[in-house]
Subunit: 313 residues, 2 copies
C-alpha cells in the first residue's frame, strides 16, 4: 500500500463537465466570475472548457475566451478537454496549460462517446502527442480512462483491458493517465485494486481519480483512492455534471464535500471552505434555475471546526 500524502490537488471540473451536462448555457461573464471565485478560494487546477464543435455542445462555444481569461490567474493550471487532434490544436492555440483526453475502456462506450474504437483513440493520442512535441512541448497531456469501473452499456469492463489501455496511453507519450468512474459503478476495494495496478503498470504516470457519486459512494471511493496513494482528485462544484438520476444523486463528486472531508482529516487542499461557499453563490447566480447539490453547504461546517483543525496540527 502506498503511503497517503499530507496534501492533495483538487481539480475542479465544473466549468467543463458540469456546464456541458446541463441544458442552460451559462453566460460567458458568469463563467469568468465563477472561475475567478474558484481561484480565489484556492483551487489551483480548473478544467475550464471542452474544445468540441459548437453545434455539438453550444454550452462550450466560448471555450477559447474562457481559457484566455483563466490564463490571467497567476498560478492556475488551465485545463481543457479535447476529444481529438483538432480539439487539441484549438485548446493549445487558445493557451491551455494542459489538455485532458477521454479514452473509454468500454468498447461500447468508446463508440458512443467519441465515435471511435479504443484502438483508433490510441492512434489519435499519438497524433496529439506528436503535435504537442513539435509545437508546444511545455503543454501537459492527461488521459482519463473512462468507464474504468463498469459501463452502463456493456456492464462489466475487464480490469486487464483498463490497465492495458492505460499502458498504451502511457507508451503513446502522454504525461499521466487517470481512472474515471464515469458511471458511478466503482466501490472502494475496486478503486484500491485498480489504482494499485495502474501504478504498478505505469509508475509515476498514474494520475487522477475522477469519481462520481451516483450511488452515494463518491467520497468513500475518493478516500480509498487517497489511501492508495492518489493525490489528484477531480470534482465538481455543486455536484454538477455526470448523470443525475435523482435529487441529490449528482454525477460528479461534490467539490465542497470533498474539500471538507480532506480538510477535516488534516489533509491540505489549499482551499478555503468559506471562500468556496462564496464561489458556490457565484455559480448559483450564473445558473439561477439549476439545482446544485452538496451536503456540507446545506448542513454547514461543524461547530468548533476551526478549533478541531487547529488541534490536528
Amino acid at each position: 500500500m502506498h503511503v497517503a500524502s499530507t496534501a492533495v490537488l483538487i481539480s475542479e471540473v465544473g466549468p467543463r463537465d458540469g456546464l456541458q451536462s446541463i441544458k442552460t448555457i451559462m453566460p460567458t461573464l458568469n463563467k469568468k466570475l465563477w472561475v475567478d471565485a474558484l481561484f480565489n478560494a484556492g483551487i489551483r487546477e480548473i478544467e475550464v472548457a471542452s474544445f468540441v464543435p459548437a453545434r455539438m455542445l453550444p454550452q462550450m462555444a466560448d471555450a477559447a475566451e474562457i481559457v484566455q481569461h483563466a490564463k490571467t490567474l497567476n498560478g492556475l493550471t488551465v485545463l481543457a478537454l479535447v476529444p481529438n487532434l483538432k480539439g487539441a490544436e484549438h485548446a493549445i492555440l487558445a493557451g491551455a496549460d494542459k489538455i485532458t483526453i477521454p479514452v473509454s475502456a468500454s468498447a461500447a462506450h468508446s463508440l458512443a462517446n467519441v465515435r471511435k474504437t479504443r484502438e483508433e483513440m490510441i492512434k489519435e493520442l499519438k497524433r496529439i502527442v506528436e503535435f504537442r512535441n513539435a509545437h508546444a512541448p511545455s503543454i501537459k497531456i492527461e488521459v482519463g480512462i473512462a468507464t474504468a469501473f463498469g459501463c452502463t452499456l456493456q456492464g462489466l469492463v475487464a480490469e486487464d483491458e483498463v490497465i492495458g489501455l492505460a499502458e498504451q496511453a502511457a507508451l503513446a507519450g502522454v504525461d499521466d493517465v487517470g481512472l474515471s468512474d464515469t458511471t458511478g459503478y466503482a466501490n472502494p476495494s475496486q478503486i484500491k485494486r485498480l489504482f494499485r495496478r495502474l501504478r504498478g503498470a505505469i509508475g509515476d504516470k498514474a494520475g487522477a481519480a475522477h469519481l462520481h457519486n451516483t450511488r452515494g459512494l463518491g467520497l468513500a471511493n475518493c478516500l480509498a483512492a487517497y489511501e492508495e496513494g492518489v493525490t489528484s482528485f477531480d470534482s465538481s462544484m455543486g455536484g454538477l455534471g455526470g448523470c443525475p438520476y435523482a435529487p441529490g444523486a449528482s454525477g460528479n463528486v461534490v467539490t465542497e464535500d470533498l474539500v471538507f472531508m480532506f480538510e477535516a482529516m488534516g489533509v491540505r487542499t489549499g482551499v478555503d471552505l468559506d471562500k468556496l461557499f462564496r464561489a458556490r453563490e457565484v455559480l448559483q447566480a450564473g445558473l439561477p434555475h439549476e439545482a446544485i447539490y452538496g451536503m456540507v453547504p446545506e448542513a454547514g461546517l461543524p461547530k468548533g471546526f476551526d478549533a478541531y483543525k487547529e488541534n490536528l496540527r
Copy 2:
C-alpha cells in the same frame, strides 16, 4: 491496523431511530410488516423500539407489541433502546434480546438528551447491569457513546473523555460499547483514531459504529471504521432519522447504500439487495407521505452487478 473482516453485521435502526424522529406515527401493523420484510431480506439485528414514556414519544407507544412480534422471527436479535433502568425493565419484560443505552460524551448533550450528567448515566448503567445480572443474565447490554465525534451544542468533545467514558461503561459490566456520530461531524481519520483507541482501551468490548450522513461522509466513515476492524454497523433504511437538514441530507447512513457498498466490495452482509428494495417499498407504504432517501435505490444496481460479484469469489 486491524485486519478487515470478510463479513459485517448490519444493525437496522430505522424502526426505532427513524420512526421516533418523524412526526407521523406508523401504524403498528405496518411496523410489523416492515420488520418482517427487513428480516426476510437477511437483516439479523433490528433496533425495533425505544422504551420511553408514550407521552414523550407517542411513535413508540407500541414498543412492547413490536418487540413481541419481532421475537417470532427465528434468528433475529431484537434490540431495544432504553434511556434508564425503568426502560430496561420494560424492554426485558417485553422480551428484547439486547438493550442499547445512549451515553453522551458531550456534557451539554447528556443533559439535553437524558436530563442526566454523564456521571449519573454511568451510575444508571450500573443499576441496569445489576438488574440484568439478577433477573435476565442472557440479555446483552450495549452502550453507544453519543456525540463521540463532536457536538452541535458544545462543539469539540475531547477524545480522552470519549475513551474514558467508554472505559467506565465497560467497567460497569456492559457487553459492548460503540461510538456514535450523532451530529454527523466525524471524518475518516478521526473514526480510525477513535476506534483504534477504543479497542486499545476496552478490547473485545469495542462495539458498533453508528454513523450519520449529515455532511455526506457517512459511507466514507463506515469504510474507515471497517478498515479499522469494526464489524457491526448501525444504519437506517431510507436514511430515516437523525437530523435531516436538507433534501438528501439524511441523518443516519442509508442501509440500502451501506449494504451495496459492502456487497460490492465482496464483504458479506447476509442481505439480499433486491429483497431489501422490496422492504423499502413496505416502509414507504407505511409512511406514504414521508420522503425516504437512498442513492442506490434511485440509481439502481450497476449493470452486470451479479457477474461482478461472482468474479470476486
